[in-house]
């Protein structure tokens, strides 16, 4: 029934994907590809969908079979914008089950090398956004920010701000993916942008002054005798500028 030259489908969630891979490994199927179920196969491709139970035990099974680090690596792969990330996860897991933590040094294996590069990208982008996110204060005191990162870093980024802005309400919206993270001083929830709409997102009365002061500070702090545009762009790529308020004037 199930064959290796099939494209296997899952429902787009991390747990569902891990359970699918578990089935594939058990049945010793090497998939041609793995895609979420919005995928439209072309004429030469055949797709197949198992009936998958969303069993969260799979998380612990992966940790037991490999390590916590490897689970994190797989999760970061899942958050990436890489086209065939699911297949990358499948191969990375296969190698990890064999090599355990040594897999991180097996750069001579093509799929491991690729996976680690992708993970590095996600993790670097997340680190950059810890700095680049710009909140504004809404009239009801809630902090609101918009981002458009390349990778889907919203969950890991929210987890960071949950610690930093522990006693604030905040909302971060990934404009590109139309998803929103909402923090209620206890935990954060990732919601679909269609389900969650801001009503009356008026800025607080002091917001304009604070933004003006920040922009004035930004313009003052650069030393004009040392002007270096290239260096600045390398650290703060232009693609992020539209959500960084002090850069808007230069766009």
């Amino acid at each position: 029934m199930s064959k290796s030259n099939y494209i296997y489908l899952y429902d787009g969630s991390f747990i569902n994907l891990l359970n699918l891979i578990k089935i594939l490994l058990k049945k010793k199927i090497i998939p041609q590809n793995i895609k979420d179920d919005t995928y439209l196969p072309n004429l030469l491709e055949q797709s197949f969908k198992f009936k998958i139970e969303d069993d969260e035990k799979v998380i612990q099974e992966i940790i037991n079979g490999t390590s916590k680090n490897i689970l994190t690596t797989i999760y970061y792969l899942f958050l990436s914008n890489e086209e065939n990330k699911e297949l990358l996860i499948y191969y990375f897991l296969v190698h990890s089950l064999k090599f355990k933590n040594k897999v991180y040094y097996m750069r001579n294996l093509k799929s491991v090398d690729k996976a680690l590069k992708v993970v590095m990208y996600v993790s670097h982008e997340n680190h950059k956004f810890k700095g680049f996110v710009r909140f504004k204060e809404l009239a009801n005191n809630i902090l609101y920010a918009e981002i458009s990162p390349v990778n889907n870093i919203l969950p890991i980024l929210s987890n960071y701000f949950k610690k930093r802005l522990k006693n604030e309400f905040f909302i971060i919206k990934d404009v590109k993916r139309n998803i929103v993270s909402v923090y209620d001083k206890k935990d954060f929830y990732i919601l679909d942008g269609e389900e969650f709409k801001l009503i009356g997102n008026k800025e607080s009365s002091s917001e304009k002054l604070i933004q003006d002061m920040w922009i004035a500070f930004y313009k003052t702090i650069g030393i004009k005798e040392r002007k270096n545009d290239r260096c600045r762009r390398n650290f703060m790529p232009k693609k992020y500028w539209k959500n960084i308020i002090e850069m808007r004037d230069e766009l």
């Binding site: 040094y105 700095g131 802005l165 604030e168 930004y218 650069g222 390398n234």
Partner: protein, 406 residues
């Protein structure tokens, strides 16, 4: 004067301080606002490409000293301002909540006397920490000449404290900053070093020297740095290329700040701290200044070609570190990876090791990257300089100054 105008004046006077790092501290918050991150976080990058991590301001730019190189010296006719402690807190907290900054960098001109100035700074910072429970990063400048009990008090409130040595020699200081004595600065460093713990200056101390305002050689500068690192376990010495802001017959007239020289000093500084080099390895009485065409590590390697090329698959960690283009991370990666398989040039690229410089100085499985007869000083030197030139003229997006490799 409104608060925005004050901010512009007091940021403008503070911008020449090079340090903006927010690393070395790891604080979690209970009821307050903010945390610190061990690696530090850059929030923005200024037009000069430098990272903006902290709200870098002076408490006041009024100063009773008259240091020749300083914009804020007494004899300059400029607009003066002073922040109240409430204003400092208001800006810091508002910027921090919006994630503009990682914390506060507070320095100050000297008003009345060092103790008076330090007291005002302590009040502001203490307000921030105790009244507003601010848990973000604070880097404060200690004022040389202030009493020890004030140093103690400030150190308990901040993550990093530092005092600027300003110029590498006592003569330079006498010439340009007649009100300052280096012993007052080293006294602070010594006190911080002796008392440092998780509750007192947890992120350690740093200092800064101005480069090119006086005629010290690079050898004198590096020797000073080495002695500071050894005596007081400083986290960083920052080098700030001299930028003329005042006209004074005692000051050199420069059109452009000596940025290349500053870059070489930073590179050499990293060699001292992370690559087990000593000052006499890289500079001596015969060559007291850096070669501006070639970085100090490659320059050293070219003068010691008898130690190269090194076999990547067998060289020790210390030997790997001496290879131009191989950093601490790369050396560690090589050591771990070669346990499992034999490395080729291709594998090195996959490990993320930049071969631009390294390839001239290594062997992989006994092989040089081209015909081994080319392993000659002339050939390597020419190519290194050529590759740097190409690099500087193309708008390569991969630009990475080794200075920021940390």
């Amino acid at each position: 004067m409104d608060i925005k105008e004050k901010l512009i004046i007091l940021a403008d006077s503070a911008k020449y301080d090079a340090s903006c790092s927010s690393s070395g501290s790891n604080r979690k918050t209970k009821n307050g606002l903010g945390t610190t991150s061990i690696a530090g976080i850059c929030h923005s990058f200024a037009s000069d490409g430098r990272c903006i991590s902290l709200l870098k301001i002076l408490m006041t730019n009024c100063c009773c000293y008259d240091c020749k190189y300083c914009l804020n010296r007494k004899s300059n006719n400029i607009k003066r301002a002073i922040f109240t402690k409430e204003e400092i807190c208001e800006i810091t907290l508002n910027f921090y909540r919006r994630n503009y900054i990682e914390g506060l960098f507070l320095s100050s001109g000297i008003i009345k006397n060092p103790d008076y100035t330090m007291n005002l700074m302590i009040e502001a910072i203490s307000f921030l920490r105790k009244k507003y429970h601010f848990g973000g990063y604070i880097h404060a400048k200690a004022i040389p000449g202030a009493s020890e009990y004030l140093i103690k008090k400030l150190g308990q409130l901040v993550d990093r404290m530092s005092a600027n040595i300003e110029l590498p020699t006592e003569n330079g200081l006498k010439l340009l900053a007649p009100n300052k004595e280096s012993t007052k600065v080293t006294k602070i460093m010594k006190y911080v070093d002796n008392n440092r713990n998780a509750r007192f200056v947890p992120a350690g101390q740093s200092t800064q020297m101005i480069i090119g305002a006086t005629n010290e050689s690079d050898l004198e500068i590096m020797s000073k740095s080495a002695s500071l690192y050894n005596s007081y376990k400083l986290k960083r010495v920052f080098y700030s290329a001299y930028i003329p802001v005042n006209n004074d017959k005692l000051l050199p007239s420069l059109k452009l700040p000596p940025l290349k020289r500053e870059n070489r000093l930073y590179q050499a500084d990293f060699l001292l701290r992370f690559y087990k080099f000593k000052v006499p390895d890289i500079l001596d009485e015969k060559n007291p200044n850096f070669n501006l065409l070639i970085d100090p590590k490659a320059d050293w390697a070219l003068r010691h070609l008898e130690e190269f090329p090194k076999e990547i698959n067998s060289a020790s960690y210390d030997e790997l570190l001496k290879i131009p283009g191989v950093g601490v991370k790369s050396a560690k990666r090589i050591i771990s990876a070669r346990k499992y398989f034999k490395l080729t040039f291709n594998d090195l690229s996959k490990l993320g090791i930049v071969l631009k410089r390294a390839k001239y100085f290594i062997l992989c499985g006994g092989k040089y990257f081209i015909d081994g007869n080319n392993f000659k000083r002339n050939f390597i030197e020419k190519n290194l300089i050529l590759e740097d030139k190409i690099y500087e003229t193309t708008s390569n997006e991969q630009l990475k100054l080794s200075l920021f490799d940390e």
